[in-house]
């Protein structure tokens, strides 16, 4: 592989402590072995940072990394990844985002940026092709995402792309994200808090170059095929554009997998329609919106008029996950309140999954008497939309009880004596599917390298949606092998710079086909998928060295039977599935990669 094959070949290394900015050659061997974005960013991070590091210390690093397909004509290839150790979980944090920022960085001539150290005063990184400099961010500090983006565009130019944090990142909210193009998020795991700890407010970039692929003719053929498949697919060609990801509410509720009231009251919500994609499209959708080069365009532009609700406003989203976290998880069916909470999260750079799930946890703790009203300042019961939105605001503003909410549900529940009521894995909140009703997603949550997460191996596809095959959500057999394939494929997809949502329509042949032609590879599909497995095992090794807890689930999922719905009486049968999964992964019974497996993946020489 050589420079020009999907890569610019140059990385920026920015030392915030002494202000030096160095251009260095991209490590092409690692680029080949770890694909790009999530994989390559993690490899650089593992090479350079002690897994035991305090994520919010100056010694930590923060890496922005694109993939070889980012900014090319490949299908939905506007993605980049932010990698660091997560302050929320202590595990590897890798957050993927779309929009236009990633492609712009490549057009400016850089595959990625490695931030080191800590600036003495707030600053931002300005990139205008060859001009790269750190600038003062004094006036930007304290501004939310939309304000900061507008100010930076006014200062630098309207055609600059902006990735910025909000005060949540400045104040150490452990689930603060980095927002680019205003509403696209490197959302989970607190990458924004790492950025804030470095006194780095934003990165602005403008590029006038282009990205060259290795075999343009073959590449265009692969891209044309992929795009045709996407356009003709019922999900990628029609469903996601019409209804967004919120379309899932009704069907997940139908299988009894939509957690209600922090999962306390099961996973069948009788008011699901109110917070569904259908209701959203009918009442509040202005238009759909796409990221760079995306034919799917799943984004929502939404509005609530002042005469419709006290929660009026305008913004983007929500995704299905936020529809649940601020909706049924908090016992709320007021879609305007859900929209409002989600808009605040976008403007204030906070992960809506963790935000909503943390409020839901606080509601349960309050209702059982574990949190006194005096700590919160008002009653916080399930179903109270006003209190829910107030909690989001208080967290963004680091006010009173909001400071505790800003630490996520695990630390909140632990503080009030009930860590078991945090619906989290490795201290990150699980998303919108109940692992008791959908067994494979329970296994996915437990084994995810970044803690509770649905986009590390989206088992909902085979278990509920029948993509690409239909398996029984109540059955445990075969879930280990299926999950391993999904996890490896996802690691590969995230690393190419192509959006994961394309995999609803595309499979390994189409993904590998575009990658191969971009980078000039003659590897087989299987050899390319093996890179995904390598990335997964590297992340796992980092977590082991960092001392991240073993794979498990909250006691609620393991012991409390679902009270109703199609999965009534079920718990997550984790131990059975874990044993199967570890065996398929070629790991020990304790869930650690064996020396043979590490050798097979050429990871045996990685030392931390």
């Amino acid at each position: 592989m050589t420079v020009g094959n999907g890569w610019t070949g140059t990385l920026l290394r920015v030392n915030l402590t002494d202000g030096t900015i160095i251009r260095e050659a991209l490590n092409m061997k690692d680029a080949n072995d770890y694909v790009g974005a999530r994989g390559l960013g993690t490899k650089y991070y593992c090479n350079e940072v002690d897994p035991k590091i305090d994520p919010l210390s100056a010694e930590n690093k923060l890496i922005f990394m694109t993939g070889p397909c980012t900014g090319t004509l490949a299908s939905s290839a506007g993605r980049y990844e932010v990698v660091s150790k997560s302050p929320l979980t202590g595990a590897i944090g890798a957050a993927n985002s779309g929009g236009h920022f990633g492609p712009e960085l490549k057009y400016a001539g850089y595959d990625g940026i490695i931030f080191e150290g800590k600036a003495e005063k707030p600053c931002y990184l300005y990139i205008n092709d060859d001009v790269v400099e750190l600038r003062c961010a004094k006036d930007l500090w304290g501004k939310n995402v939309h304000e900061a983006t507008d100010m930076l565009n006014a200062e630098c130019g309207e055609d600059f792309r902006v990735a910025t944090i909000a005060p949540s990142g400045e104040n150490g909210v452990l689930f603060a994200g980095i927002m680019n193009d205003k509403n696209r998020a490197a959302g989970r795991g607190g990458m924004g808090a790492v950025m804030g700890s470095k006194n780095l407010k934003a990165v602005v970039v403008r590029g006038t170059g282009s990205v060259k692929v290795a075999r343009p003719e073959g590449f265009l053929k692969e891209v044309a095929n992929a795009r045709k498949m996407l356009i003709e697919h019922p999900v990628c060609g029609e469903g996601l554009a019409a209804f967004g990801t919120e379309i899932l509410v009704n069907i997940i509720n139908e299988v009894g997998g939509l957690p209600v009231n922090n999962g306390r009251d099961g996973a069948s919500y009788d008011k699901a329609y109110d917070i569904s994609g259908e209701n959203l499209a009918e009442k509040h959708l202005l238009k759909n919106q796409g990221c760079f080069g995306c034919t799917i365009a799943c984004g929502r532009v939404t509005k609530v008029k002042p005469d419709e609700s006290e929660f009026y406003g305008f913004g983007e989203g929500p995704e299905y996950e936020a529809g649940w976290s601020f909706g049924s998880d908090c016992g709320i069916n007021d879609i305007a309140a859900v929209l409002k909470a989600n808009w605040i999260c976008n403007e204030e750079g906070m992960d809506p999954i963790t935000m909503g799930a943390t409020i839901a946890c606080a509601m349960e703790l309050f209702e059982m008497g574990a949190i006194p009203e005096s700590d919160i300042g008002f009653p916080l019961r399930f179903g109270d939309a006003e209190a829910m939105v107030k909690c989001v605001r208080m967290t963004a503003d680091a006010q009173g009880f909001g400071k505790i909410l800003g630490q996520g549900s695990y630390r909140l529940a632990d503080k009030y004596g009930h860590p078991e009521l945090s619906m989290s894995v490795k201290k990150q909140e699980m998303p919108a599917y109940d692992g008791r009703a959908i067994q494979g997603i329970a296994l996915e949550y437990a084994t995810s390298n970044r803690g509770g997460c649905h986009v590390r191996g989206y088992m909902i596809s085979p278990e509920v949606l029948g993509l690409p095959i239909k398996t029984d959500p109540l059955v445990t057999e075969g879930k280990g092998a299926l999950l391993k394939t999904f996890q490896d494929l996802t690691a590969l997809c995230d690393s190419t710079g192509i959006c994961l949502f394309t995999t609803f329509a595309l499979g390994l042949p189409e993904l590998a086909g575009q990658y191969r032609e971009a980078v000039d590879s003659d590897e087989s599909d299987e050899e390319i998928l093996l890179k995904g497995e390598r990335i997964w095992n590297l992340e796992k090794r980092f977590n082991m060295e960092a001392g991240v807890e073993k794979d498990t689930l909250p006691p609620r999922l393991l012991r409390e039977e679902l009270p109703s719905g199609p999965a009534k009486g079920k718990v997550a049968e984790l131990q059975t599935m874990l044993a199967d999964y570890y065996e398929v992964r070629g790991w020990s019974k304790e869930g650690e990669p064996t020396s043979e497996k590490l050798k097979e993946l050429e990871l045996q020489d990685i030392s931390f």
Binding site: E238, G239, I247, I251, E278, E321, V455
Partner: protein, 92 residues
């Protein structure tokens, strides 16, 4: 028997839920719907061209269980059942 519709199927039927006497099987239900609502036999087909099976891009659940796990289109229906029908969808 209650039949729920999701996504674009709501506009085909004009309602989110209908109440009808239970046909004997899912196949009979899908055949009935295809005849009653023209779009279900033209632009948004529910059945395969031979009329003997459900198309792959349709999801049908009986009491929250996908019919694939309940004997497919031969799954028997009673008046107490709740059926949900939706076009293939995804999100995340």
């Amino acid at each position: 028997m209650q039949v729920k519709f999701f996504a674009t199927y709501i506009s085909v039927v004009g309602q989110r839920v209908i109440d009808i006497p239970a046909p004997s099987s899912v196949l009979d239900l899908l055949t009935y719907l295809s005849q009653k609502y023209p779009e279900f036999s033209t632009t948004k087909k529910l059945l395969t061209d031979d009329g003997l099976d459900m198309r792959d891009d349709v999801i049908c659940m009986v009491n929250g269980r996908h019919i694939i796990h309940m004997g497919g289109v031969n799954c028997p229906l009673t008046d107490r059942d709740v059926v949900a029908i939706t076009p293939q969808m995804a999100g995340g």
